[in-house]
Structure formats: C-alpha cells, structure tokens
C-alpha cells in the first residue's frame, strides 16, 4: 500500500468536512495536520469547524492549526452561506478540542522541511483559498520546495466558468494572488477545477447509499444538505450538487479515477472585474512550460463508490467487526 503524508488546508464547509472524513478513514493517508484558513467563513469559524469534524470522527489526535485570517491583497469575500457558520450553525456541538499552538503556515513549512531533511516529502491537499499555502511557499525557500511532493488543489474553472461569480471559482476568487504564487512555486500542482468537480454530483441516490452505511456521519451530511441546498437542476442537468473537495484526497487514493493533462494555468489578479479568473493553455498556444496537471475527466461512479466504501468506516458495523 502506497502511503502519503498529507496536510489538509481547509475552510470547512460541507465538502471540506466530507473530505477530511474521507482522509481520516483512509489508511493510505497519514494526516500531519489540518490547517484552517479564512474562506467560506471567517478563520475562527473554519478553525472551529475543523475541530468539530475531528471530534465527529473521533480523531482528536490530529492537530488543527489556525492560519491566515484574510487574503493577501484583495478585499475579503466569504461563501454564500457565511452567515450560518459554514457547518450548519449549532448542528454539531461546540468543540471541546482546542487548536494546536503555532501558526498553520509555520506548520506547513516545518512539516515539508523536516520531510526534506529525511529525504521524504509531504503532499498538501488544498480545499480553500490558497493564502496559507502561498505564505508557506513565500517563507519556505528551496528546502520547502524539495519537501513538497505535490499540491493538490480544488480550485479554478475553465469551461465551467465560475460559481461564486460568473468568471471565477470561489477559492481562487477569494485570493487570486495566493493562487498565482502557488502556480509559480515550481512545486508540482494537480488542479481540480469546477470542470472536474461538476462531474461528481452528489445525487439523492448517492447520498442515500452513503447515509445507509456511515452512521452519524451520514446523518450529519443529510442534515447539512437540507440547510445548504446545492441543487441547481438548470445548471447541473439533474438533482444534486457537486462534492468538490473530497476529490482531492480521492486523487491520492485512486488516481486512476481521474484523467489529467499537463498545461499552463494563469490567474487574473489585477482587473477587479475579472479577478480570480483562471485560464488554461490546453492547446499550448503560449509555449509556456506547464505548471499544473489539470483534471479533465472524473470517473464519477468510481469516485462515489470510494467515498461510500470509506465513509462506511463511521457506520454501525465497521469492516472486520461482527455485529
């Protein structure tokens, strides 16, 4: 079994939660920490929600670090549901767990440098605006670059255009400068744009299958989806909503579910009317060296089979146990 040492950088968020739960339930992934950043909701809320997810999963051994409270340069923007705390208000109890000492950026830098010193690497799973990751790239230097095998990012949009605004996907829109820093970092990047995540709709049938096996976790998912209605039949062609972030750890678990192409990706930072817009040179018109592996196709059934199988670890009858 190939294992990966990972850091999840996140702003939970419903699909961040599912992603963290998927990572927890996967023995191939060793979690070195969860780094919270301002994004969907303010930093205090994303940190609190990350702690809630750890408690929900019974994984209070994984440290949660607080990171950057706002984007590098642009005015701060939040997600559509910022006013309800990002994770269903008081659906999950106030966490008793506290954040670890130290800053998320320093933790990311240290984890990568320590790995590099041992001749190892870490993988960064980025589910949020890239402020923490960009800060780590800017502070970490060459030793940091050597210690990071890959940054897997849910972010950007090409053919899918945008979600929070018509021209941009939220994570890149919320901190376009940070995205530009990461794309220029010379660290290998795998990018899951909306084009890819829109191929993995969490339909009512798929939710039912997860709900049936995953106990309290499935129950929370179902309740959250009642609060955050992701249905947009006009846009997605059927009921259900995209489950963006869990594709990131899924890529480490089952890369064969995803088809990628290497390409040069740019991001608009300057023009306020199109800030956060990402563009991809799919046909090599610019002659630039590719800076991203862009996910183009998703085996949607395979992805949901994986999510369902792994989330069953939270169910009443765990694998390997008898009832």
């Amino acid at each position: 079994m190939k294992t990966h040492r990972i850091i999840i950088d996140t702003d939970p968020g419903f699909d961040d939660m599912v992603s963290i739960l998927l990572a927890f339930a996967s023995p191939e992934l060793e979690l070195l920490g969860i780094c919270a950043v301002a994004g969907n909701v303010p930093l205090e809320d994303t940190a609190r929600n990350a702690l809630r997810v750890c408690e929900l999963a019974g994984r209070t051994d994984v440290p949660v670090f607080m990171g950057c409270a706002g984007p590098l340069l642009r005015d701060q923007v939040f997600g559509k549901y910022a006013n309800s705390g990002g994770l269903g208000g008081d659906l999950l109890p106030e966490p008793a767990l506290r954040c670890a000492e130290g800053h998320a950026v320093d933790h990311i830098v240290k984890a990568a440098r320590d790995a590099a010193a041992r001749g190892e690497t870490i993988t960064i799973c980025a589910h949020a605006p890239l402020t923490n990751v960009a800060m780590a790239c800017l502070m970490g230097g060459e030793e940091f670059v050597r210690g990071v095998e890959r940054i897997i990012i849910m972010g950007g949009a090409f053919e899918a255009l945008g979600n929070r605004v018509p021209w941009a996907e939220f994570n890149v829109y919320a901190d376009p400068h940070a995205a530009a820093v990461v794309f220029a970092s010379k660290i290998p990047v795998t990018l899951f744009p909306l084009d890819a995540t829109f191929q993995g709709l969490l339909t009512p049938e798929r939710l039912d299958r997860i709900r049936a096996v995953s106990g309290r976790v499935g129950e929370v998912m179902e309740k959250l989806l009642k609060i955050y209605d992701r249905n947009d039949v006009a846009r997605y062609g059927q009921e259900g909503g995209p489950l963006h972030d869990p594709m990131v750890p899924a890529f480490l678990l089952r890369p064969e579910l995803f088809e990628t192409v290497p390409a040069w990706v740019g991001v608009e930072t300057a023009n306020p009317e199109s800030a956060g817009h990402t563009y991809c040179d799919f046909f090599g018109k610019l002659g630039r060296k590719p800076n991203c592996d862009v996910v183009r196709r998703v085996d949607s059934d395979g992805f949901f089979a994986l999510v369902t199988e792994r989330l069953a670890a939270y169910g009443p009858t765990q694998r390997g146990e008898t009832q």
Binding site: A69, M135, M139, V181, A184, A270, N271
Partner: protein, 315 residues
C-alpha cells in the same frame, strides 16, 4: 533619554550599510535585531552584508534574521548601483558568525506579538522592499499591537521614479507587499525620493566624513565616493542621494524633517505605473490619512548628525 526599541529590515546595500552604522552608534535607539530581505541583491548576500556591517560596527551581539528570498508575486529585480557584493568597492572583514535559524518573518511576528501583549511598542525601520513586513502582517495581524510606527524609505511623489518613470526601487521591487503594508492600519512614516534627493552625499560632505578618524568613518567615506552618481543634471550637485540613513535619522531626530499627513496607495495593477505611490494631497478622496510623508529634510543637520555618530566609533 527615552530610548526607542527598533528592528531594522534591510537589503544592504551601500546606503543600508550607512544606515545600520548610524543606528548602531545612536544611544537614542536600541536595535533589537536586523532582518534581511531580497532587494538590492539576493537575500543570501544582503544577510551576509548585514552581518559584515554589524561586525564592522563591533556589534556581533545584534541578531540577524534572513527573510524573504523573493517578492510576493513579481519576479525579483536587482539594483543598479550596489557593486558586485552590494557594498560597492569596500573591502571589509568577513563576518564571524551566521544568521539566526529563525526566519525573519517568524522573528518579527514573535517579537511584535509578544511586545503587544506586554503593552509595549517597537519601531520598525524598513530600508528595502516591504516583503518581510507584508508577510508578517498577513501571517499574524496581531503584530500591529506591538508596532509603534513603521518608518520606511520608499516611494516617490513629485520627484517621479528612479528605477522606472513612475516608481521608486523599493516600491517597484515588491508593489504588492507595499500595498499590503500601507493599507494595514499601522502608523507609517514614509521617506520618498522627494525627501532623499535633499540629502545628497556631496564630495564636500563625504570629505568631512573622511576627515573623521577611525575605520568606520573611512569605510563610509570610501563607499560614499563609490556611490557618487555624477549626475548634475538630475540632482543639481555631485554625489548620490543618501536614502536609507534618513530612516534612523528620522527616528533619532524628527525635528530635522517636515512631514505632511495624507492618504497613500501603491499601484500594483498597472504596467506603466507599477509600484507608483499615489498621494491624496488635496483631499480628492474621503479616505483616512494612512501615511506621514516626509517632504522636507534639513540636510546640513542630517549630515552633521551622521558625521558625529560615525566619529563616535573612534579608532
């Protein structure tokens, strides 16, 4: 005497070197540490130069922290007038120690947050591109509570740019960082080219420094001779503008300067005006004033101060 505690963020650099020597010889300030940044030359070289200058000053006790290796977003640009080592033609004794292990940004965060928690305030003297300070602000906004003021050399208003038509080098070298710093709500005093062009290290002024006995003054006289731009048309005299030393001089002797408070923004969207500092001199916006811009310099007073302090190093 009310001693101000300062941290110097710099990219030495000839005029940074003079600036460090001025600060280290001034009892009005206590230099807590020196942080270095990619600027005039790469950060490995600015760090080494900072250590070299501390050694020249006999201050190997001042911790030096190496910082950002590159600007936030733009590609690095290097200065034109620093000589191969960044210290002109000076031949200086090699430093006897290395920089601290801690990153400059982590040092700034730790020192300033702890100071803020104790109700104390530290003055930041910034001589280079503002990358370290911007990263510090985004890393931990709580640093603001521990900062008395940022006194920075940078920007150009009526003077126009030096490295491009519109921008001064430190702003141009990292306009995104500069924009973060000036909009952070921290008190700022800015010494733009408009001010530093008033502080020309003319041959006469350099000779007064050369007349001072001691290795430090001789070294400064040598590197200032190298610094001479020989551009009468532009500066109205021989010599080079002594930008950075005005920063500690302002902290030590604010009475030598006149300021005007205004609203300043740094342009980072435009190609033509990349790194330009734009002030609202005539109240065309409703924005609150965020910067005290130094517009007048008592040049004789400044050079007297510098010469006197360099003399204090003795033989």
């Amino acid at each position: 005497m009310n001693v101000q505690r300062i941290i110097i963020d710099c990219d030495p650099g000839i005029d940074d070197a003079v600036s460090l020597l001025l600060a280290l010889a001034s009892p009005e300030v206590e230099v807590l540490g020196v942080t270095t940044v990619c600027g005039n030359i790469p950060v490995d070289a600015t760090t080494r130069n900072a250590l070299t200058i501390c050694h020249l000053a006999g201050r190997d006790d001042i911790p030096v922290y190496s910082g950002a290796v590159r600007p936030i977003l733009r590609e690095p640009i290097m200065a034109e007038f620093s000589g191969g080592s960044g210290l002109g033609n000076a031949v200086l004794e090699a430093p006897v120690r290395k920089a601290e292990v801690l990153h400059a940004v982590d040092y700034l965060v730790k020192t300033l947050v702890e100071a803020g928690e104790r109700g104390e305030k530290i003055t930041l003297c910034a001589h280079g591109p503002l990358t370290n300070l911007a990263l510090m602000i985004r890393h931990s906004p709580a640093v603001a509570k521990g900062i008395e003021r940022i006194v920075l050399m940078g920007g150009a208003f009526r003077a126009g740019g030096n490295r491009t038509r519109t921008a001064e080098f430190n702003m141009l070298a990292d306009p995104h960082a500069a924009a973060i710093v000036v909009s952070a709500g921290i008190p700022i005093t800015m010494l733009p080219l408009d001010a530093t062009y008033q502080a020309m290290a003319t041959p006469e002024r350099v000779e007064k420094i050369r007349a001072v006995p001691g290795k430090v003054a001789q070294t400064v006289a040598d590197i200032l001779t190298f610094w001479d731009r020989k551009d009468l048309k532009r500066y109205g005299s021989l010599g080079g503008p002594l930008h950075d030393p005005l920063v500690p001089a302002y902290v030590i002797r604010p009475d030598l300067f006149t300021i005007e408070s205004t609203f300043v923004e740094v342009e980072w969207r435009s190609e033509l005006c990349f790194g330009q500092t734009v002030a609202d001199w005539y109240g065309r916006t409703d924005a609150a004033h965020n910067v005290d811009v130094v517009l007048g310099v008592n040049a004789e007073g400044f050079f007297d101060l510098l010469t006197e302090r360099l003399a204090s190093y003795g033989n």
